[in-house]
Symmetry: C2
Subunit: 154 residues, 2 copies
Amino acid sequence: MRIGELAKATGIDVETLRYYERVGLVQRPARQANGYRAYGQDAIERANFIRHCRTLDMGLGDIKRLLDFTSKPDADCFDVNHLLDEHLVRVRAKLKSLRTLEKQLARLRTQCDAGHRAADCGILQDLVAAAHGEACACHPSDGNSSLSKRKARE
Amino acid sequence: MRIGELAKATGIDVETLRYYERVGLVQRPARQANGYRAYGQDAIERANFIRHCRTLDMGLGDIKRLLDFTSKPDADCFDVNHLLDEHLVRVRAKLKSLRTLEKQLARLRTQCDAGHRAADCGILQDLVAAAHGEACACHPSDGNSSLSKRKARE
DNA sequence: GCTTGACCCTGAAGTCGCTAGAGGGTTTAT
DNA sequence: ATAAACCCTCTAGCGACTTCAGGGTCAAGC
Ligand SMILES: [Zn+2]
Ligand SMILES: [Zn+2]
Ligand SMILES: [Zn+2]
Ligand SMILES: [Zn+2]
């Protein structure tokens, strides 16, 4: 099987497959006499595994670790659970912040409905006022910089 | 005001401020005799505006456009509304996909609770089965590659 | 006077997960 | 024979930073 066929079979772009090979996610396949990559059927399995994990938004490093587990049947799967737990934490944190964000943006959007002068635009006024520190949680405005420190630790 | 003070006043990292200057988001400040950047009070306003918009997850290009509006009071604010609408669409799309993702991951996590052999791990088995094409929507498994084409158009 | 440490400077490279381009070679169909 | 469709490598670009290397500047304490 050539790379284009593997791409069609898995829905992964040819360039992406070559990229996965470069970073070690996909093993280097044998080559034909002309230098073309020659994949076996197992490459479809592996590529589909990667694709599925990517749709679950896992990082390539995590996917590599999971792939390694599939070839070590006697290993303890604790790390698999842990990896998934951490990923869930990340996803839930992002979900939470996106929900807040959506509310903020929806409210902001109501501040202007028709076209008028920029000076009278409720949205711009709202943004400027927030930057000024009025009723806004995003910048500390007191002396401490806990927010940036927290971000740095994440 | 030196860059470290501006950083502390706004909660934006020093390196990030220099990066914003490089990409034209923050105007180049005057310099002291020793080459240090010397900011005025207005720099705090502008930097806080940027920070606030970043917590609303706007791109630097959008923020620049908004900043430009704040100095053009007579412009029509239509583009401001439009920019916000597009951003809301993006945020809501991401929110929707994250909600689906969270459900999938939460279900997957239930497949294994205690440590055992990787070969018996319900999570790994689930992932392999999904990659195999069982009850999984992420890869087409039929002949067409509509999914990848759709993605390319987006 | 001299070192220590906290600042500041520039420019370049690394991060992640691709994506696109340049500049070729090979195969297949007409 | 020629064109389209495929394949190859190597390189650079995206966004929004972060980090590193290799310096310069300045106040305080000994
Ligand atoms: Zn799948
Ligand atoms: Zn408006
Ligand atoms: Zn704010
Ligand atoms: Zn398990």
